[in-house]
Amino acid sequence: MDAKEVETLIRQGIPDALVEVRDTTGGGDHFEALIVSTMFEGKGLVERHQTVYKALGDAMRVRVHALSLRTLTPAQYENRR
């Protein structure tokens, strides 16, 4: 599984998201992702990550060994820049 596939799955579940995925080891199973979406507004970190895991579905259980997540609302993203 490459970073692009992970990105595509996340976008399918979170259509408005800005998604950046990086394969951290080059092995196709360890990734880190930055995701910015209005869907995260008013949600805690646990719920935000659960939204991403849901978008990934079976891939998360079977093909992804590790995924580091940074989940931000558009306002939080603006503040960081």
Partner: protein, 110 residues
Amino acid sequence: MSEAIERIQSAIRGNKIQVFMKGTRSFPQCGFSAATVQILEELGVPFGTTDVLADPELREEIKRYSNWPTIPQVYVDGKFVGGCDIIRELYESGELQALVKAAVGQGAQQ
């Protein structure tokens, strides 16, 4: 109720701070579990750990129980707080220190 759920619940009830991890506190078997334990040790609070690698049934059950697909998983005061990324983020923002202090402090008063 499966026996694995009972083991999960008794660990969560028995420890104000409970970590389900790969490996043991002294010998973590995964970088994310190691990082999580390191942060909690830095806070200097007592916490319990359960090695999911030693209990395959619990390893599967905990993912359903928390609706969370990865290990480690941290519970504070019976509530699921998150995995390694969230623990790190809460630690950096100072929220973890407050959360843990409230949980442990509360235990001391009882």
